[in-house]
């Protein structure tokens, strides 16, 4: 029986590749006001994979899900413009949003996946603002589903999924049974552009709204951020003339 619906779980991140990030004066975090936010690049790859699977007729419906404040609906719209069928926005704002971490998000995704009877949950492997690389794995554990993480190739074979994973030693191919959780790595695909006509059409697609409480999830964080600091400024290098000088310098600053 072909899988019914696939959940793509999206993250809205600070595009930390190139915008200017600075630490808040009270060192409690980084300044996010006015900084450009957009869909996490690995989540874009996840959406692309889900839409490709639908186009190949392996799955019937793709649902885009994201947790966060109202800004997040823009991200869901982009996913809808790329080809998802409908969206779910789990509203988390204010203090809850600042404290939200992979565990809370995983609980929400797990509850939703169970509620909507998803066959496949696809996420990006990690968010580029916190680089946690935990949400996918935690979601799978909470659901007690098999997981195919760091996927660089996904093929559906009847009731099973063949996943080629990028690991330190090279590539590992595994076969897992559905329902399963997959996380997308960089080389899985090249995401398509969300073109303007599709953005306009996406305005007509449905985005359902709900709160974590509706899913029975408590948002209490077990992690407390004590302090955020900028990395130390890189000091200029020092050139030495001989090896003896090098040894002397290393001894002087306590390295050896």
């Amino acid at each position: 029986m072909s899988p019914a619906s696939v959940f793509v779980c999206l993250s809205l991140t600070l595009l930390s590749d190139y915008p200017v990030i600075r630490v808040k004066p009270d060192h409690s975090g980084v300044v996010t006001d006015g900084v450009k936010h957009s869909m996490n690049p690995f989540c874009e790859i996840a959406v692309e994979e889900a839409v490709k699977l639908k186009e190949k007729k392996f799955i019937k419906e793709v649902v885009a899900v994201s947790c966060g404040p109202t800004q997040v609906t823009e991200t869901i719209r982009t996913a809808l413009a790329m080809g998802c069928d409908r969206g779910i926005h789990v509203e988390v704002s204010g203090k809850d949003y600042e404290a939200m971490g992979p565990l809370q998000i995983a609980k929400i995704f797990a509850a939703l996946a169970k509620k909507e009877e998803a066959s496949l949950v696809i996420l990006g492997k990690q968010a580029i603002d916190d680089d946690c690389n935990q949400t996918g794995q935690m979601t799978a554990a909470l659901l007690d589903w098999p997981q195919g993480t760091f996927a660089s190739e996904v093929t559906i074979d009847g009731e099973k999924v063949k996943v080629v994973r990028e690991i330190d030693g090279g590539l590992e191919t595994i076969k897992i049974s559905m329902p399963a959780v997959l996380t997308a790595d960089l080389r899985l695909n090249t995401p398509r552009y969300a073109t303007l006509p599709n953005i306009m059409k996406a305005k007509k697609k449905k985005i359902a709204n709900m709160k974590p409480a509706d899913l029975g999830v408590d948002m209490v964080s077990r992690v407390e951020v004590l302090r955020v600091d900028e990395p130390p400024t890189r000091l200029a290098g020092v050139k030495v003339e001989t090896v003896d000088d090098l040894v002397a310098k290393l001894k002087a600053n306590g390295t050896i």
Binding site: Y18, G34, K36, P197
Partner: protein, 620 residues
């Protein structure tokens, strides 16, 4: 013709400095550029389809080029103060008169406000007309001006100039704003009123009806590779058709450039003259912070014949933030002048340094601005469209304010358009509506009176005494006569024609950046947050790839490597053989348009890159 082996000492120093610059770029393809009669093997620079049409390109055979089209009543290009004010006014009128109106606005930045840069001291006149209740709506006008200082700087000292009421620079009643945040707020107001705003989509092409009137615009194509060939993810842009299209691209818009030619809009006005403005945001030591204080200066480090000056505004938004910057008129004559380095060295003046010492720089950006005023206003209406805002150029130069006039022009455009687009029978001769009432309304409005009164101040700088002659003229004729003198002075002509050959000029010795007050170009560009999709044709297109080395470098010592505030242009040695080539680092571009304006060969044509590319200014 020009021996490439002879370089000035300055060029050699530049080359050595540039060699240490790490620029990531795809290896350039080498073509023997026979078509330009050059025997040197020059790597090809330009691959954009506006220079090499795709219908003659074999790589594009069989590619689907159909575009999806949609209809709106009004399409607005550009989400700045003018475009947004026009959109808001249209929707306000629609609400008042209970009519339906579809207004679509496209903006090349990834979010509204991300490409906005200005001083800025906002005169709230237009805002008061647009939203009398702006305070309740939460408009970010948080810093009323409390102190107004004007100085003439010498290398070590400062001569204060009294800011008498009546002088154009007097800022009583105005607000220091972060224009990017203000524009963002305008965007929110527009969306609430039902305007369809599409950030991240650039208007790349003007569409025409059979009868020659403007039909609308097409957004940029995506997925073209750096060499001009289609990628797998290639998608055509979309066409937006409208009864009237408003072009609010800001100073020196690229579509406006095309429209001037198409409809001959500039036949009865002088060519526009510009300046480049560079800006930084600093968090300073609290003890030095004077919220509401406005400081302007002229003089050092510029000589009396180079128009320009500085601004430094103390914002009042919670933390001790100052917005500061430097403006240099682009009619400067010395090709060795670098506006960026003038800005950096100005910060070392004792009067400026004392405010900045101990502070941190958190943002940087640059943009060209209009200096032409009244004499340079083109015709602003044509069949199917009109020009609003800084695009035709309503900036009041001595006041150094253009936002209030840009907003007002957008509002006047909306008021002229509204009855026509909602009429049952538009009674138009052309398929795209021609609405000359907009131009009539402009001439009757306070914009016209204001620009007329100050029309002679900027051109008065073109005299032997330069800056001082201009200041005396302002004091006598403007302050006393309020611009009522019967004559109208002329500007000097095209900015690009003002450069003297390098051999007639002296190179300027700029001090090295100290990393505390002054900085190098590349770390500044990093702070602008600019980026573009790397694998796309460079959007700084050259009509002729051989001209930069043959003309710009040979005669003018490559001024583009100095006037570009983002390090886009570099002359680097050829990989094989003798000679130099121009390297275009298109990813660094901050969309300031200075190169298109100042290129002495007028060979550079700035076109819009893929949408969402460009700077990521946050409240600049």
């Amino acid at each position: 013709m020009f021996p490439a082996s002879r370089y000035s000492i300055q060029a050699q120093r530049c080359i050595r400095a540039l060699k240490t610059v790490q620029a990531e770029h795809a290896p350039s393809q080498h073509y023997t550029w026979g078509r330009n009669c050059s025997s040197a093997v020059m790597p090809r620079i330009t691959s954009h389809y506006t220079i090499f049409p795709r219908d003659k390109d074999p790589r594009w055979e069989g590619v689907e080029m159909e575009r999806f089209a949609d209809e709106a009543d009004v399409v607005i290009v550009g989400g700045g103060p003018a475009g947004l004010s026009a959109a808001i006014r249209l929707k306000q009128l629609a609400k008042e008169q209970e009519k339906e109106l579809r207004v679509c606005l496209v903006e090349k930045a990834s979010q509204i406000g991300a490409h906005t840069l200005s001083g800025a001291c906002l005169e709230p006149s237009a805002l008061n007309e647009l939203f009398p209740d702006w305070k309740e709506r939460g408009a970010p006008l948080n810093t009323p001006v409390t102190e107004d200082l004007f100085s003439i700087l010498t290398e070590k000292y400062r001569i204060p100039v009294p800011m008498l009421p009546g002088l154009p620079m007097n800022n009583h009643g105005n607000y220091i704003v972060r224009l990017g945040h203000f524009v963002h707020w305008l965007g929110e107001q527009a969306e609430e009123l039902g305007v369809e705003i599409y950030p991240g989509y650039a208007a790349a092409e003007v569409l025409f009806h059979e009868d020659g009137s403007v039909k609308g615009i097409a957004t940029n194509d995506v997925g073209i590779a750096k060499d001009g060939s289609p990628k797998d993810v290639f998608e055509r842009g979309m066409e937006l058709h409208a009864k009237v299209t408003l072009f609010g691209e800001g100073c020196h818009g690229h579509l406006a450039k095309q429209l001037y030619r198409q409809f001959n809009l500039r036949e009865n006005c002088e060519p526009q003259t510009y300046a480049i403005g560079l800006k930084e945001l600093w968090v300073i030591d609290e003890k030095k912070w004077r919220p509401g204080r406005v400081e302007h200066s002229v003089g050092w480090p510029l000589n009396r014949n180079t128009y320009g000056g500085s601004f430094l505004y103390h914002l009042n938004e919670g933390e001790p933030l100052v917005a500061l910057g430097f403006v240099v008129g682009l009619d400067y004559t010395n090709p060795y002048l670098s506006p960026f380095r003038e800005f950096q060295r100005w910060k070392h003046h004792p009067f400026v340094a004392k405010t900045l010492e101990g502070g941190d720089r958190i943002a940087y950006g640059a943009r060209a601005l209009n200096e032409g005023g009244y004499q340079c206003l083109p015709k602003v209406t044509f069949p199917g469209g009109m020009l609003i805002g800084c695009s035709p150029g309503f900036m009041n130069v001595p006041k150094i304010k253009g936002t209030h006039t840009a907003m007002k022009s957008g509002m006047l455009a909306a008021e002229a358009i509204f009855p026509k687009v909602t009429a049952e029978d538009p009674a138009s001769e052309t398929a795209g509506l021609h609405i000359p009432e907009y131009e009539d309304n402009l001439k009757k409005s306070w914009i016209w009176k204001e620009l007329y009164a100050v029309r002679n101040i900027r051109p008065s700088f073109h005299n032997y005494f330069g800056l001082y002659g201009g200041m005396i003229y302002t004091g006598v004729f403007y302050w006393i006569l309020r611009g009522k003198e019967p004559w109208t002075l002329k500007h000097a002509g095209l900015d690009s024609a003002q450069l003297k050959p390098a051999k007639e000029c002296t190179p300027i010795e700029y001090p090295k950046p100290d990393g505390k007050l002054s900085f190098d170009l590349l770390s500044s560009v990093a702070l602008s947050g600019t980026n573009h999709e790397g694998d796309q044709p460079p959007h700084l297109t050259l009509k002729d790839d051989s001209i930069p080395v043959a003309n710009n470098l040979a005669i003018y010592d490559g001024p583009e490597q100095r006037f570009c505030p983002a390090g886009v242009y570099e002359y680097v040695p050829l990989e094989t053989g003798e000679g130099m080539r121009l390297q275009i680092n298109a990813q660094n571009c901050v969309h300031c348009k200075t190169c298109d304006i100042k290129d002495p060969s007028q060979n550079i044509n700035w076109v819009v890159p893929e949408g969402s590319g460009g700077p990521a200014y946050n409240g600049l």
